[in-house]
């Protein structure tokens, strides 16, 4: 069998070099990202609107919508999917223009009213899928988030969540809202912590939520930043 001369193997060598080097570069970049953003068992994320720490094995998805009414910024934080054990944290930020539009359109004057409005909207959404759902207000109060007073509501939707097998679960939702004044008006922040009751009430999940709240900062407000 005739042996290939080295020159004939050149494209194969270039191919192998490219594949291996790109793979190594990708791996190294992943390692770099993990090292750069790690803070113990958490990753630290700085987005356009908010900064916070989240568990390393949770996923984060950000999305921004804008139209003539203003801008809305979403951040979803959720653990790897598990059967029947759904839990998720959602941040929603309305910019100054959208806050004005939103408050005006629905006749709202403060965050407490806005929270009730959002809770009712969620209830109506669930009711469209399950008409037997009931809404129970468990708790209401205020919390300090990054030096700003936030209003919260803790609500349980009985039979509010249907899993893939068609089984109904109670859904617990904590709605938090606060506003922050800027030179152009006021921004509205929502933090919604959803979860199937069995999962939501787990101590480890509550600890994660607490940690996220403790490390949460509005981007731009650097007080107490480590």
């Amino acid at each position: 069998m005739k042996r290939l001369e080295p020159v004939k193997r050149l494209p194969v060598l270039v191919f192998l070099t490219l594949v291996i080097s790109l793979g190594i570069a990708g791996y190294a970049l992943f390692q770099f990202a993990i090292m750069k953003h790690s803070r113990g068992e958490y990753f630290y994320l700085v987005t356009k609107e908010l900064e916070f720490e989240f568990p390393k094995n949770w996923s984060v998805f950000t999305q921004e919508f804008s139209n003539e009414s203003g801008e809305v910024y979403y951040i979803a934080v959720y653990p790897p999917a598990t059967h029947k054990r759904w839990v998720s944290i959602l941040f929603v930020v309305y910019d100054e223009r959208f806050t004005e539009f939103y408050m005006g359109r629905y006749g709202l004057t403060n965050t407490s009213q806005a929270l009730l409005f959002e809770a009712e909207r969620t209830y109506n959404d669930i009711k469209r899928r399950n008409e037997h759902v009931t809404m129970n207000l468990t708790e209401r109060g205020t919390l300090n988030i990054s030096g700003v007073e936030a209003t919260y509501l803790l609500i349980t939707f009985r039979d509010g969540y249907m899993d893939n097998d068609g089984d109904l679960h109670n859904l617990t939702v904590m709605f938090l809202s606060w506003t922050q004044g800027t030179s152009q008006g006021e921004k509205t922040y929502y933090l919604i912590f959803y979860g199937v009751e069995e999962e939501w009430s787990q101590l480890r999940i509550q600890r994660i939520f607490e940690h996220l709240l403790n490390t949460l900062k509005m981007s731009g407000s650097r007080d107490g930043d480590g």
């Binding site: 020159v7 004939k8 191919f15 594949v19 080097s21 790109l22 793979g23 990708g26 990753f43």
Partner: protein, 239 residues
């Protein structure tokens, strides 16, 4: 009429190989993309680092792995096929068409068949305006590397033929004297019943191509060289 038909059938077969090469590239890249994205997800999940995907560095890392692990290998295998099947002087252009077709089919497959879950990275790639450019670049590079892996060193073959001719001289001096006929081609020609230059000149390029597997165009060129050689030989003997 016969020549036109032969010409058209030759072109059609070349186009068929180019199209098949493109399809092979796209299908392999498509399957590799699904496997690799799944593998990246599983590895990150097992190492409790799924959250890293939100960072720009992770997006770049995924993009690099996608280029090296899907687009280039897909293009390479498609290019190998085209390079093996087509021994045309216009291989450079044919490979370009094969890569373009491969990339188009790949993008169509990713957009229409994978849905949101797997095109998640593509959504982010779109933000960076690299959703078309990077697959195209990867498939293009892979296709050329694959195509030339089979055809690399064709020029060197001509140089080395001198040496090979000497090795074959005692049994096939006449055939290997023709420009473009090395020891391997001489063997293939002899297997097809062509023992001398005269036999070659009399043969039909089409029939000979079918018997030897050497492209018809190449055989026509070899016959032209053989005719010129006979002319020179007869002039020398007359003088």
């Amino acid at each position: 009429m016969e020549t036109v038909r032969e010409y058209l059938s030759e072109k059609a077969s070349v186009l068929k190989y180019v199209a098949l090469g493109g399809l092979i590239s796209s299908l392999i890249a498509f399957v590799l993309r699904i496997i690799l994205l799944g593998a990246i997800y599983m590895i990150l999940k097992n190492f409790d680092c799924l959250g890293v995907r939100v960072y720009g560095e992770a997006l770049l890392a995924t993009t690099l792995i996608m280029i090296g692990g899907t687009y280039i290998p897909g293009g390479f295998i498609g290019g190998l096929y085209v390079g093996y099947k087509v021994k045309d002087e216009k291989l450079r252009i044919l490979l370009l068409f094969s890569a373009l077709l491969g990339c188009t089919v790949l993008l169509a497959l990713m957009f229409f068949f994978l849905g949101y879950r797997v095109t998640y990275y593509l959504e982010m790639e779109r933000e960076l305006r690299i959703s078309v450019f990077l697959p195209l670049l990867g498939v293009l590079v892979g296709t050329y590397l694959g195509g030339y892996s089979v055809n690399w060193g064709k020029e060197e073959e001509k140089i080395s033929e001198g040496k090979l001719v000497l090795e074959e001289a005692p049994i096939s001096l006449a055939l290997t004297d023709i420009r473009g006929v090395g020891s391997r081609r001489a063997k293939r020609l002899r297997a097809a019943g062509i023992e001398t230059v005269e036999d070659l000149v009399k043969a039909s390029p089409r029939v000979l191509s079918a018997k030897t597997g050497i492209p018809e165009k190449t055989i026509q060129r070899i016959i032209e060289h053989a005719k010129r050689m006979i002319e020179k030989e007869s002039l020398r003997s007359m003088s």
